[in-house]
């Protein structure tokens, strides 16, 4: 009984929030131009799924986001390993990176447009530039904090540098790398949306931007709900992947 109630509670709250939205729309406290009712919003979403018209922008946004994120993760882990494991690489690279890091990634959009034009390459460059930082920082930490004992074990077993990197350093840094990649993915979604708006590339970001311009508020709200859904799903998905990859870790209370 109490278990059932515990499970119902979050559901009740969510239903309450939506009911509030519905009431505000129903009594026209806010004009429907600005606030469509929830059922119209979800209807819109259902229709777009049913007629398949959502797939094009959805897949475009997801593809852009994932390609940029993967590039960023690759670069972040490689650079992070170099800086975390080699003091020389750290001396040469980290001041430059420290200067670039606080730069808002969106500020790179004009620069990227200069180089790539209003193209897919521009978007991917900006997404990768923005989502590389959390991966890079956490990789530097992870590779820089391999336990001394494990380094000694590697030395005692006469491991080569490559073997050490593969068998000891990378698995040891994996929890940090994955945490960084999770933050990076959230950033890459944001930047995918921004670059779509800015460069008018096909995708959910451009769609909600255009919906706003022509006051199609139902479409706008449906788009926002869809983006939220993506955010929740990718976060959940990565969380699952993380738990599986790190199953050797003692369960947290």
């Amino acid at each position: 009984m109490t278990y059932l109630r515990a499970a119902m509670l979050p559901l009740l709250f969510a239903v309450g929030v939506i009911a509030l939205w519905w009431l505000v729309a129903w009594f026209r406290l806010v004009s429907p131009v600005f606030l469509p009712s929830p059922e119209r919003t979800f209807d819109e979403l259902a229709v777009r799924f049913a007629d398949g018209s959502i797939w094009l922008p959805l897949s475009a946004t997801l593809e852009r986001m994932i390609v940029g994120w993967l590039l960023a993760s690759l670069a972040g882990v490689a650079l992070g390993a170099a800086i975390g494991l080699s003091p020389l690489a750290r001396d040469f690279l980290s001041p430059t990176l420290e200067f670039l890091r606080p730069l808002p990634a969106s500020a790179m959009i004009p620069v990227a447009i200069l180089f790539f034009g209003l193209s897919e390459g521009m978007a991917i460059f900006v997404i990768a530039f923005g989502s590389v930082w959390p991966v890079l920082m956490s990789s530097i930490f992870g590779f820089g904090h391999v336990r001394i004992r494990l380094r000694e074990v590697a030395i005692l077993l006469g491991m080569t540098k490559t073997r050490f990197l593969i068998k000891i350093a990378t698995p040891s840094a994996l929890p940090d790398i994955l945490a960084g990649m999770r933050s990076g993915l959230a950033i890459s979604l944001i930047l995918a949306v921004v670059t779509e708006m800015q460069a008018s590339l096909p995708g959910l970001g451009r769609d909600i931007f255009l919906a706003q311009r022509s006051f199609r508020s139902t479409e706008l709200y449906a788009g926002i709900v869809m983006l939220g859904l993506i955010g929740v799903l990718i976060n959940q998905g990565l969380h699952r992947a993380e738990t599986w990859l790190l199953r050797w870790r003692p369960q947290r209370q």
Binding site: A6, L9, P10, L12, F13, A14, V17, F34, L88, D91, F92, L93, S94, P95, T96, E98, F99, L100, R101, P102, L103, P104, A105, S106, A107, M108, I109, P110, V111, I113, L114, F115, A186, L189, I190, V193, V194, M197, Q198, G205, I208, F209, A211, Q212, F215, S217, L220, Y221, G223, I224, L227, G228, G231, V232, N235
Partner: protein, 245 residues
Amino acid sequence: MERLWRGALPPVLILALWETSARTGAMTYASLSYPSAIVRAGANALLDGSLLLSTWQTCQAALLGLALGSAIGVLLGSALGLSNIAQRAAGPTFDAMRAVPSVALMPLSLLLLGWGLAMEVSVIAYSCCWPVMIATSAAVRGVEPRLLEVADALELTPLARLWKIVLPAAFARIGVGVRIALGIALVVAVTIEIAVNPRGLGYALVLAQQSLKPDLMFGQILWLAAIGFALNAVLSMADTVRGAP
């Protein structure tokens, strides 16, 4: 000393290469300008006050948004931290709302509020309230139980309890959340300005790019990086000061 020149080497090398290739005409990107022109354009913009004005507009929006977002975050976080039922009921909904990328709300706030400071502040506030909410709820949960027993013994009303005991005790940890939010505020402000809102540093950046003034554009980016760098330095200094016993 050794480390200093090592760190300076890559940027100096890139800048020197950039400068010489631009001046000798070896570079194919005519629209890329070159370092000395960039510094000159940046300095000019700084001196004629236009850069400072747009910086002020961006900071104003960022700080107002941060203040509003922090206030909301502290309120929500206190509620979640004080009541297990609130945490269980509202937690998942807030998690879902948090997952909505802040920039997706730009068109919405534009629809509701139009261009200007208000729409920018509202989106920044939305982005800033989550880290503060999480930090506050964790901090409130972490308040020493003895202090709460004191509050019980004094028979404080719930509000007095929150105001006099819980929030002061949780202050330092809430501060951590606000500092995270500060970094977010600046980034989101610039992003909104670049994407939709015609004011501030972000818009100046887009304007410079669209009017084919790459020297001014890179000068502004340099300035933006310097601001971010300074902000980071101040924040990490605050960290070390706070960390000292």
